[in-house]
């Protein structure tokens, strides 16, 4: 959840109004009774920066966060009674930034505990958006295990995609908070947010600069970038084209985000703690604080701690077809076998 809220805070800081951000949070960890420090979600274990704060607008919350609602928001096929704040009101001049995080696997991402969205669903939704000219460009960013599989099925133009880890690879959390016993932020997101802290609304940094800071050693997984659908050179695409509300550039950037349920990971700043050095609020903590914990808890462990395990299937398409046919063959074999046996008995 701090992944999502971190992104939310960043795009808002860069000038995207709340009305253009669609924030989906599957779980209300900040107000969860199991949260030791209610009302707060922190960006890191040092608890310098409360991401929840007092000015946050969650558009889809709890059980509203479903695959269906997500697809409806993207394609615009919402019920007529849905209010403006829950709609994605974009047109052919809008740049859209989609950020997703949660428990994922090869070509899917888990929503809540009972459904999942597949790469085909998102690819089809983007194609429908393209057909209706609902975007100019999309930046798709995903931080899950095996995240890169998720954007492999896209086929609509002008989509730039990046993911935290290759198929077959886990995505690891950045650090763990011992007081609440869970990991607080994922490594990939943490490094992006750190880069974003150095950017303001008028920054001239490009997407290439952002992708250059990806360091597989630091992130503990191999981030991927897919730019074959994207028609501008990355070194001429400003980061603020997607992350910033700069009006001259005609940027209109909704953030769509989802997170499967997680145990509470917020902490309260009101409780004075001896080790809590008050630092500058605006600065994200840097990586040296808990070096020993780094990388020792991964996203799967995170899933385990909440009693939900996301298993990831590793096989590709041919294997999948083979498996389907095997099951048919099995049923057929069973029938034939029963038939032969009865005949043999006579």
């Amino acid at each position: 959840m701090s992944n999502t809220l971190g992104m939310y805070r960043t795009v808002k800081r860069l000038g995207i109004p709340d009305s253009n951000i669609i924030l989906m949070l599957a779980d209300d960890t900040a107000c969860n009774p199991r949260n030791k420090f209610p009302g707060c979600v922190y960006s890191n274990a040092a608890r310098n920066l409360d991401l929840y704060g007092d000015n946050i607008e969650v558009d889809y919350r709890g059980y509203e966060v479903t695959v269906e609602n997500f697809i409806r928001v993207l394609t615009g096929r919402v019920d007529p009674s849905v209010p403006r704040s829950k709609r994605l009101l974009t047109d052919d001049r809008s740049n859209i930034f989609v950020y997703m995080t949660g428990h994922g696997g090869n070509e899917f991402l888990k929503f809540q505990d009972n459904e999942e969205i597949s790469a085909f669903d998102i690819a089809d939704a983007f194609e429908q958006m393209w057909q209706k000219r609902r975007y100019n460009e999309i930046l798709f960013m995903i931080d899950t295990c095996q995240a890169n599989g998720m954007y492999s099925k896209f086929y609509s133009p002008n989509i730039l995609a990046t993911g935290s880890s290759e198929v077959g690879q886990n995505s690891y959390s950045y650090e763990n908070d011992n007081d609440i016993g869970v990991a607080v932020i994922d490594s990939f997101t943490h490094h992006i947010l750190q880069f974003m802290e150095g950017i303001d609304k008028t920054s001239q940094k490009t997407m290439q600069d952002l992708f250059d800071v990806f360091d597989p050693v630091k992130i503990h997984s191999t981030p991927g970038v897919r730019s074959d659908l994207f028609h501008r050179p990355l070194s001429q695409t400003l980061v603020t084209d997607f992350f910033g509300g700069v009006s001259q550039a005609e940027v209109f950037l909704p953030l769509i985000d989802t997170k499967t349920s997680m145990p509470p990971n917020g902490l309260d700043s009101k409780q004075p703690r001896a080790q809590d050095d008050p630092q500058d609020d605006a600065v994200d903590d840097d990586s040296g604080v808990f070096p020993s914990i780094r990388g020792s808890y991964d996203a799967d462990l995170l899933a385990l701690s909440s009693g939900k395990i996301s298993l990831s299937s590793q096989d590709g398409m041919p294997a999948r077809g083979a498996r389907a046919w095997t099951s048919i063959a099995l049923v057929g074999a069973l029938v034939v076998w029963v038939g032969i046996r009865t005949r043999a008995k006579r």
Partner: protein, 493 residues
């Protein structure tokens, strides 16, 4: 016990009532009947309702282009300027780029007494001091040495205003309904420099109502207004020195991030209509006077700017507790101009005069109506095409009766547009707007959500545990029964 069992005669299985062949066959048959009867029900509830769309009609639209007539009556009373030659050249110019604007030229007799109708214009060229005057849908050209070329240029510009890329980006997308939100924002009302109230209603009535009235054939406007007493900027304006005075400035970059959307609430969100914002910003005592710097970094006299497709902003260095209608004149005249350019009212050629008591001329209005009609028709066509393409492409996408009805409605509305285009421009616009609304509604129909993608293995995973266990005994008994039946037949024969 064992002995007693042995002494009993073995039970003849074929004598048991439930082992009678007929009963057994009936039981098996009844199972199969249930299965077979259930198949259509299963088929019905698992299949997706995909009604066929009138695809041939949609593809036939590609060949039908909107053609809006431009009836121009030309009369030249100046020797040396021939109305015939202007006519031919105008027709030629319009034909040259017919692709991009869809109007065609029709010659019409000059009739100075007729009622003004959109799309019909009179041009009278008379001798006199050089002057181009628009009056309603009439253009009076006074000429001494004006050449044909100049008249022709002015005329082309009037009926087909050229717009560059920047202008096109500024214009809001067409919508039948708009909300206009006027906000008076005080950066900090406690600092001493503030405007606490304004006569906004009277000002709108006086300065904007005529324009809104004229534009009401295109859009339906809803107006709201508000005053805010604490609307901080997200950045600090730079300090500059003008002579002795310390002033503050906004660079061109500052303007792009001027709107502090995180902290300003600029419009209510009660409806889904697009909003055009107008902001009168009063800087606090610390930040005033506040000037806008031009590209060279020197303070300019401009105090207003447009954010494309968003709205307009005026910075006021003239703070007083209450603004009366007269005080608002400058602000609202600016808002008026900003509104016109945001809505896409084309500007007039520089050398043309008109009655300045009017917000804008009928020539401009007609040009805008033609442009919007053309865009609406294009958009509706494109939406229809993409609906058809998507339904083909995504096999799980349901197509319900209401979608089909809307698609048919779009086709009907477009037919009406094509039919009306030669007679009434306003009706054509209305039907094109209707077509666009319906096309969007059809595309965004909530029922058109494709079922989530289920890979084949999911389907087998669902059906195999259910049916494999049931199917095996069913099939086996049937096979056995058929075998037994054939055996008895063979024995009998």
């Amino acid at each position: 016990m064992a002995e007693a069992d042995q002494q009993q005669p073995p039970i003849d299985l074929s004598k048991l009532f439930f082992q009678s062949t007929t009963t057994r066959r009936r039981i098996i048959a009844s199972y199969w009947i249930v299965v077979i009867l259930a198949i259509p029900i299963w088929w019905r509830i698992t299949s997706i309702d995909r009604l066929s769309l009138p695809e041939s009609k949609v593809s036939a639209l590609d060949t039908r282009d909107l053609r809006l007539p431009l009836r121009v009556g030309l009369q030249s009373n100046v020797p040396g300027i021939s109305s015939n030659s202007i006519e031919t050249q105008l027709a030629h110019r319009l034909k040259r780029d017919a692709e991009s604007h869809c109007v065609f030229f029709e010659s019409a007799p000059v009739d100075l007494n007729r009622q003004s109708t959109p799309g019909t214009y009179d041009v009278v060229i008379e001798p006199g001091a050089p002057n181009l005057l628009l009056d309603g849908r009439r253009l009076s050209v006074r000429s001494q040495g004006e050449t044909e070329e100049q008249v022709l240029d002015a005329l082309t510009n009037l009926v087909l205003p050229s717009s560059d890329g920047m202008e096109a980006l500024r214009i809001v997308k067409y919508s039948p309904r708009f909300r206009i939100a006027f906000s008076l924002l005080n950066e900090d009302a406690t600092s001493g420099r503030s405007i606490l109230s304004w006569d906004v209603e009277a000002a709108i009535k006086r300065y904007l109502a005529p324009a809104l009235e004229k534009l009401s054939i295109l859009h339906n406007f809803t107006i709201e207004s508000q005053v805010q007493y604490h609307a901080p900027l997200a950045f600090r304006p730079h300090e500059i020195q003008i002579g002795e005075q310390t002033a503050h400035s906004l660079t061109q970059e500052d303007l792009t991030v001027f709107v502090n959307s995180a902290e300003w609430t600029l419009s209510s969100s009660v409806s889904n209509d697009p909003v055009i914002h107008f902001v009168l910003f009063v800087p606090s005592a610390d930040d005033s006077p506040l000037y806008i710097l031009d590209h060279n970094g020197t303070p300019s006299s401009a105090d207003a700017f447009i954010l494309p497709q968003w709205g307009g902003i005026v910075v006021s260095n003239n703070a007083r507790p209450h603004l009366k209608v007269a005080d608002l004149e400058h602000t609202f005249v600016t808002f008026h101009n900003q509104l016109l350019s945001l809505l896409g009212v084309p500007s007039l050629p520089a050398n043309v005069d008109y009655d300045y008591s009017l917000p804008f001329t009928d020539w401009q209005l007609d040009a805008l109506v033609r442009l919007r009609t053309m865009q609406n028709v294009e958009n509706s066509k494109e939406t229809l095409r993409s609906i058809v393409a998507l339904v083909h492409q995504i096999e799980n996408m349901p197509v319900g009766q209401d979608v089909k009805g809307d698609v048919q409605g779009v086709l009907d509305a477009l037919d009406l547009v094509f039919a009306e285009s030669s007679s009434s421009l306003m009706f054509a616009l209305r039907h094109s707007s209707d077509a666009l609304t319906r096309a969007s509604r059809a595309f965004f129909n909530p029922g058109m959500l494709a079922l989530l993608y289920f890979p084949a293995e999911h389907k087998y995973a669902v059906y195999t545990p259910l049916f494999a266990s049931v199917a095996a005994p069913l099939v086996a008994t049937l096979a056995r029964e058929v075998a037994a039946w054939r055996k008895t037949r063979r024995e009998q024969a």
